[in-house]
């Protein structure tokens, strides 16, 4: 607890290794198609990262992160869709200049809440603020009333279900179950060709590292320690004079904003957004990424996301009819054998050997390698 820097030596090595892996190794070894897939997986890593802060450290299990992923993604997609719906591109419609799905639903003018999304600056602000404020409202409503644990998880699920129904039901304004498809350009720059995908990949990795650094900072700051304390014994923290609710709201908002950034990246990378990322199932999947990576490990979240999605893609390509069983088996195996996920394997088996080889100058500070932290029951 004496180390006040926000990155210690072993973590710095870990971050550098991840950087080399993402920036050098993957782009050199993968073709553009596979690299674009990795870019898609990494958009979920933002969500997993947020969950590490919120669930791993704060002990707040949110089963509704898809909501924030979706809000961020839809904000981005609305901007891109407006740009793709120029009057020239949409001249076969009965009302040119509005998104195609509005035309199919007999809407004849652009709704007022779509208007500001002509501006990229507004869109970027909205990607951060809309989910942030939404999380603030939910968080305030729940945590100020001391709703927590499983009740909170259930409510987040309900929110995910409600938002999905809202999006599907208002298809004239949102594209309904089809979502917003055929996104083409960002400020006139075509996002579909290969070179654009590569550029977007590097931009995304850059953003990911900014978020990793923010997460590191939170974790090593006093705030991070309060979060851990809160997770372990909420009442003691409260009796010590801290406002538990505010800290919880903060952690939840950070997780929401991270998820939203991931969603926006997704819309850019994949070129569409649909309600299938908002609902309960994708939200739970996102928690699984974090669990596989190790919910206490910031870098583990990234590796976990990559591993699960790689497994998903390759299993489904090889066994198109049986792959779900394989994936299910993988989850059960990880949870049964390695409750702390990939990071747990690393911390228990690999790290000690490395430490023996390279003598450390200082005693190892707390973190996911520390079994007393890892053994807590954060979900409670």
């Amino acid at each position: 607890m004496t180390d006040n820097r926000f990155v210690n030596r072993s973590e710095l090595i870990g971050i550098l290794v991840l950087a080399v892996f993402l920036v050098v190794v993957l782009p050199l070894t993968l073709d553009v198609f596979r690299l674009n897939l990795v870019a898609k997986y990494l958009t979920y890593a933002f969500v997993a990262l947020g969950l590490v802060i919120c669930w791993g450290y704060g002990g707040i299990l949110s089963l509704g992160q898809g909501v924030f992923f979706g809000l961020g993604g839809y904000c981005m997609a609305m901007f891109l869709k407006l740009e793709a719906s120029s009057p020239e591109n949409t001249k076969i419609q009965s009302t040119p200049g509005i998104p195609d799905f509005m035309d199919w639903n007999q809407i004849t003018s652009l709704p007022y809440f779509w208007q500001p999304f002509h501006s990229l600056t507004f869109t970027i602000a909205a990607i951060i603020l809309v989910p942030g404020i939404f999380a603030l409202i939910i968080g305030t409503a729940m945590f100020k009333r001391r709703v927590g644990g499983t009740y909170f998880a259930i409510i987040t699920q309900a929110v995910a279900a409600i938002l999905t129904i809202l999006i599907v039901g208002q298809q004239g304004y949102t594209g309904g179950i089809n979502g917003m498809t055929d996104l083409r350009t960002l400020k006139g720059w075509d996002i579909r060709p290969d070179h654009a995908k590569v550029l977007l990949y590097f931009f995304e990795v850059g953003c990911l590292f900014v978020c990793i650094m923010i997460a590191q900072f939170i974790r090593h700051s006093k705030l991070g320690r309060i979060l851990v304390a809160m997770r372990e014994k909420e009442d003691r923290v409260r009796f010590s004079g801290y406002s538990v609710a505010n800290f919880k709201i903060f952690a939840f908002c950070i997780a929401a904003v991270f998820a939203a950034i991931g969603g926006a990246m997704f819309a850019l990378q994949v070129g569409f957004m649909s309600p299938s990322f908002v609902g309960i199932v994708p939200s739970i999947e996102m928690v699984i990424y974090t669990a596989v990576g190790g919910r206490l490990s910031i870098l583990g979240a990234v590796y976990g996301t990559l591993l699960v999605n790689f497994a998903k893609t390759s299993l489904s390509e090889t066994f198109p009819e049986l792959w779900l069983f394989g994936l299910g088996g993988l989850f059960i195996a990880v949870v049964l054998a390695f409750p702390n996920g990939l990071a747990g394997i690393w911390g228990d088996y690999v790290q000690p050997r490395i430490d023996r080889l390279i003598p450390s100058r200082k005693p190892k500070p707390e973190g996911w390698t520390d079994s007393s932290v890892a053994d807590g029951a954060p979900a409670e």
Binding site: D31, V32, F33, N36, L37, K40, I92, S94, F101, W104, N105, Q106, I165, V168, G169, Q171, G176, I177, N178, G179, T181, D182, R192, V270, G271, F272, S274, S276, F277, T313, S316, E317, P320, E321, W323, L324
Partner: protein, 419 residues
């Protein structure tokens, strides 16, 4: 499960013969060139597709898992059957068709990802795939960007036309208008009640149906209700139906919701032998889940029923059952999926090339006389000319053909006066 399919597998020769026989009607229309020496690969494939001197690769992209698997499995089976039959006849331009199957997993982004994989990595010459409108909308930008060829089997809402897609199902006006005309004339129907699932296909179909009822048939729509996909509570709409007493209930409820809808209709005492009900979303596949006793008497309006009595269908149905089991049923979309590989083969032979641009250009006018639904032809707009048929559901889960249009109906994806 019956042991019939196993027996079939044990006797590959018999099966092959049967496949060949099922394809016989198509032989008559093959250009003579296809029996000649296969042309050089460099001549028929100038864009680097997966074509060798002996093989050509196509992709099959449907949901083998997830909620849509129950509907899409039939399409996968039909496409595999068509490919096997084409191979038994010598393939396409002297090349056997090899397929790569990918699972869209009932998830639209996955469809887009897999479509891209098939086109970019595997360089497939064509994709037979997609089912829901949402999956097609997700895949469409991909096939357009990478210049692929998609054969799409489902009846759908229209308002779309692409150089890179051949729509082997019916678009909304083709499917609906003749059926409404028939029921208005036959039953003297004046008032209609619409019930649908809440997404683009039912909404667009009902919009077209409403315009037709109000402007052409001079009737009235007394109610229009939508329910989310997967909804199982239809009591409130059934009460409204009882209050308004429409001449016809017109439904496009899809998927598993159908089971609840028809069971609740029956439980509420609505007798489909007295109350006319016209559905555009229930095929033999859905009746499998609904149960024949719950839906007997309802009318369905589409282009194909398993019970069609024509020589093509009489060879197609046994061949399908031979390959996939006696208990399988064949719905409208399954038949449309079967057309995909055949139309592609005929177009390739007409164009004399696997190049996508040449196939897209050669598609209009391609005709398939061996279609189980009867003769079909590709229109300039890449949809099919096809007949519209009305069938009445029977207790055994099959439809009895009641009415069919005299001529092929022209596909009109952007109908004037219906938008």
């Amino acid at each position: 499960m019956s042991d019939e399919p196993n027996k079939g597998l044990l006797s590959p020769l018999r099966r092959k013969l049967l496949m060949g026989m099922a394809a016989l009607p198509a032989i008559t229309m093959l250009p003579k060139a296809s029996f000649a020496q296969a042309p050089a690969t460099s001549a028929v494939n100038t864009t680097g597709l997966a074509v060798t001197d002996t093989e050509v690769t196509v992709g099959i992209l449907h949901s083998a898992t997830g909620t849509m698997a129950i509907s899409e499995t039939g399409s996968i089976e039909a496409e595999k059957l068509a490919i096997e039959q084409i191979n038994a006849m010598g393939g396409v331009l002297g090349r056997k068709i090899k397929f790569i199957q990918e699972d869209g997993a009932s998830d639209w982004p996955t469809f887009a990802e897999k479509a891209k994989k098939l086109l970019v990595n595997d360089k497939v010459a064509a994709i037979m795939g997609c089912w829901t409108s949402a999956s097609r909308k997700a895949v469409l930008p991909v096939v357009e960007q990478y210049n692929g060829m998609l054969y799409y089997p489902t009846f759908y809402e229209g308002l779309e036309q692409s150089k890179n897609v051949i729509y082997t199902g019916q678009e909304a006006t083709q499917q609906i208008l003749a059926g409404l005309n028939w029921i208005a004339k036959e039953k003297g129907a004046k008032s209609f009640f619409f019930v649908g699932s809440d997404y683009i296909w039912p909404r667009t179909s009902n919009k077209i149906a409403r315009k037709h009822v109000e402007n052409v048939l001079k009737g009235k729509v007394v109610g229009e209700e939508y329910y989310p996909l997967g909804n199982t509570q239809f009591n409130s709409v059934i009460n409204k139906i009882k209050l308004t007493k429409p001449d016809v209930i017109f439904t496009d409820v899809v998927g598993g919701s159908n089971v609840a809808f028809y069971k609740q209709l029956k439980a509420a005492g609505i007798d489909l032998s007295k109350q006319a009900l016209l559905t555009i979303s229930v095929t033999e596949d859905e009746i499998d889940g609904i149960g024949g006793e719950n839906i007997a008497g309802a009318y369905a309006c589409m282009k194909y029923f398993q019970s069609l009595d024509n020589p093509n269908n009489k060879t197609f149905v046994p061949a399908f059952k031979k390959m996939w089991g006696e208990k399988t049923v064949i719905g409208d979309v399954t038949q449309a999926a079967y057309l995909g590989p055949w139309l592609w083969k005929l177009t390739v032979e007409k164009a004399g090339s696997f190049d996508v641009d040449k196939i897209a250009a050669a598609s209009p006018g391609v005709e398939f006389k061996g279609a189980p639904e009867g003769y079909v032809r590709i229109h300039e707009n890449h949809h099919l000319w096809s007949k519209t048929r009305v069938g009445r559901a029977k207790l055994d889960g099959q439809f009895e053909l009641i009415f069919e249009t005299a001529d092929l109906v022209e596909p009109d994806p952007f109908p004037k006066g219906y938008q």
